[in-house]
């Protein structure tokens, strides 16, 4: 099966769909492939808001937005990229408003804004605590209007290149049929998400955040950058790592220890707060998020998901009780290196969203900047990929066959359980490549990863079905995660001085 397009987008979250929409508006023939369905991506989990210096809730300025973002980035960002993003923010909100995003509003008919950590003003536009969900679904509706072809349950196996090193398409597993397919495209945009699930259950993320696109791009020769920067969110629910949004603290929630004492500043940047909580836990304390004083009305209106999830997973009702929490992996700042045009180091390969590193978050991302990033740079990636596709014309894949990693995996012995390995590695990473790192712990983790990789053929899959083999897909995801893990530890070892989310003692 051969399919040819101007622009192939891998990933149907906020970044991928925005990119597809803009590529199409730029005149390109576009297809979007997703390993799930559109609207199921990590974007739907973003709760807190999307930053823009609109000044709808007190004074604010683009300069302050830039300054806050730069400060949080700890010198590891591209100031020009940050300026571009922050300056584009009001326009981005205007666009989202124009396509029908159901933002919360103020009495005086403006988009409502609230405070998130590290921001000098109430800058995050929100839609209750469903901000990402409502943005994502509305952008998806816009893609339907634009008649963009979206194919579901298609998994990226390889990025295809010609001898000239230009990207010419992708090798894809149709999860439903089990067939391997070739999609040819003049330009490929990766919008495949981050890698927080290398921490397995110690992450707020969807189980899909396995870094597939990043690992696949790296195998094709694309450069990765700043992979050691992983953001730990201070307030994951203790037993299941489900996120309690920063807006809980933005609205005035407290962080308490077992004695009921506030021991830290609740609205400090995430890296600082996570370390403070981690230190308290290591002292033997339990740590809680307390929003009881906000009152039932505010909690129901502004934080309805939080209440539902705390009841379901921790059996506590935050209107009356404390929520037990711990910091967990939440967002990965590192990713595929891209320039201001969202172009990677491989010709014809573009990237946006969490898999890309536009260097706007640096060593620590501010809450409310990731939804902004996917809209602003989704547009940049879409437009530039379309332009590239037009200028470079057809790049037919010269040599393609449908052999793939799947054939290799079939030969694996499967004498060791990879699910157990995955969990083990996730826990090890949480401990050794987590909130506070030491050289010795990092080196141990690296040896462990390399050992698993060296013995990968002892693992494998037991399900032999061709149709919808999730055992196989999860194993390929695990293989991708292993590649990502290795880069993360190596990058962490290479950075000997603490910086933002990378804290080494």
């Amino acid at each position: 099966m051969k399919n040819r397009y101007d622009v192939l987008v891998v990933g149907a979250g906020g970044a991928g769909l925005t990119a597809a929409l803009n590529a199409k508006e730029s005149g390109a023939n576009v297809i979007v492939l997703t390993k799930e369905y559109p609207t199921r991506s990590q974007t739907c989990m973003a709760q807190g808001g999307i930053n823009a210096a609109l000044g709808n809730a007190g004074e604010d300025s683009v300069e302050d937005h830039i300054a806050n973002t730069l400060k949080s980035a700890h010198g590891e960002a591209d100031p020009e990229a940050i300026s571009f993003m922050c300056e584009s923010a009001p326009k981005a909100i205007e666009w989202l408003d124009s396509i029908g995003v159901c933002f919360s509003r103020t009495e005086d008919a403006k988009v409502a804004q609230r405070a998130l950590g590290g921001a000098s003003a109430s800058r995050a536009c929100y839609a209750q605590d469903y901000t990402g969900l409502k943005i994502l679904h509305t952008v998806y509706d816009r893609c339907l209007e634009a008649d963009i072809e979206i194919q579901n349950e298609k998994y990226l196996l390889e990025i295809l290149k010609n001898s000239s090193d230009g990207v010419c398409g992708a090798k894809i597993l149709d999860i439903r049929s089990g067939e391997v397919e070739i999609y040819e495209a003049n330009a490929v945009i990766l919008a495949s998400g981050g890698y927080s699930r290398i921490y397995d259950k110690n992450s707020t993320n969807s189980t899909a955040s396995t870094g597939d696109g990043i690992a696949t791009a790296a195998r094709a020769g694309a450069e990765l950058i700043d992979m050691e920067f992983v953001q730990f969110h201070p307030t994951g629910l203790k037993s299941c790592s489900i996120l309690i949004s920063e807006s809980a603290r933005g609205e005035g929630g407290y962080i308490l220890n077992s004695k009921g004492e506030r021991f830290t500043k609740e609205l400090a940047p995430r890296d600082v707060l996570s370390r403070a909580i981690d230190a308290e836990i290591k002292k033997g304390e339990e740590v809680f998020l307390d929003i009881r004083h906000l009152g039932e009305k505010l909690i129901n209106e502004g934080l309805p998901q939080e209440r539902k999830l705390a009841k379901l997973y921790e059996n506590v009702d935050p209107v009356y009780e404390l929520m037990p929490i711990k910091p967990v992996a939440h967002y990965t700042m590192g990713g595929i290196k891209v320039d201001r045009q969202s172009a990677t180091s491989l010709k014809g390969l573009f990237a946006c969203g969490e898999c890309a590193n536009h260097r706007v978050h640096g060593a620590n991302r501010l809450g409310g900047n990731s939804l902004l990033e996917i809209v602003v740079f989704g547009k940049v990636a879409g437009e530039n990929a379309a332009l590239y596709a037009k200028q470079n014309g057809q790049t037919e894949c010269l040599e393609v066959d449908t052999s793939s990693v799947i054939d290799e995996i079939k030969g694996y012995e499967n004498v060791l359980d990879f699910y157990a390995k995955r969990e083990h590695l996730g826990d090890l990473f949480y401990k050794n490549v987590g909130i506070v790192r030491t050289k010795q712990e990092l080196e141990f983790a690296l040896r462990e990863v390399q050992d698993i990789k060296a013995n990968i053929s002892k693992l494998g899959v037991s399900d032999t079905s061709k149709v919808y083999n999730t055992n196989l897909v999860e194993f390929i995801e695990f293989k991708n995660s292993l590649d990502v893990c290795e880069v993360v530890v190596k990058s962490a070892l290479a950075r000997e001085v603490s910086c933002g989310a990378h804290y080494i003692v």
Partner: protein, 234 residues
């Protein structure tokens, strides 16, 4: 605790030692430790991605927000082709959003929506497209062309929004295989994990349609029918 899961060749019983666990946690445990071949979909674990919709004891639930009980019988959604085990093909359900043209007719600039305007379609915009409502819908079960619950809710979401300036066209798009085909049975409301009532939204669409002169075709199709004013028409 024992649960039965519908697989290709009928129900398979599994024992789980997990207590006070969600169905998704139990399915993951089964998959990882007992039966690697068990197929199901999941994503966020927090009820916002819509991936893990399935049926327990013949009622639609999200596996991530349902706590298992001894003897539960787990099946895939109805009215959709089963791809494997608990995985169904949702492409067709998804396609109705496009068929119904669930979007703003044109880009809306210079908006001035206030807090009360935002309340109008706040709940409708909570939809996660889990397709539980299509599984529970008796009309969709017999008419595969019925636009169905979430697509109609989405239309009401846009049509009730002050930013939509062509409500009439929005209404005309849902007349055929749309709002009048619904029997108002309310199954969709009962199963919706987001507390959306597509039935109520369909009633709103009917009222709005009537304002634009659209009529219930079932009513108009009586032999010798009745005019607008109720008088017999000849």
């Amino acid at each position: 605790m024992k649960i039965s899961v519908k697989k290709e060749n009928g129900f398979v019983e599994y024992e789980s030692s997990l207590v006070d666990a969600t169905l998704l946690e139990v399915l993951n445990d089964i998959k990882q430790t007992k039966d690697n071949s068990l197929a199901f979909s999941s994503g966020c674990r927090s009820s916002v991605c819509g991936s893990c919709s399935m049926r327990v004891n013949e009622v639609e639930v999200l596996a991530c927000s349902y706590k298992i009980q001894d003897g539960d019988r787990v099946e895939p959604l109805k009215n959709m082709e089963v791809v494997r085990d608990l995985v169904v093909d949702m492409d067709k359900a998804y396609s109705f959003n496009k068929k119904a043209k669930a979007w703003l007719s044109k880009l809306a600039l210079n908006n001035a929506l206030d807090a009360s305007d935002a309340k109008i379609n706040e709940v409708q915009s909570d939809c996660i497209l889990c397709s539980s409502c299509y599984s529970a819908c008796p009309v969709y079960a017999v008419n595969g062309d019925f636009l169905g619950p979430f697509a109609l809710t989405r239309i009401w979401k846009y049509a009730s929004d002050k930013r939509e300036d062509d409500v009439q066209t929005k209404m005309s798009d849902v007349q055929t295989n749309g709002i009048w085909d619904c029997t108002l049975c309310d199954n969709c409301t009962v199963v919706c994990p987001q507390n959306i009532s597509s039935k109520a939204d369909i009633e709103m669409l009917r009222m709005k349609s009537a304002q634009f002169g659209f009529m219930d075709p079932n009513f108009g199709s009586f032999d010798g029918g009745f005019g607008f004013d109720g008088s017999p028409s000849f």
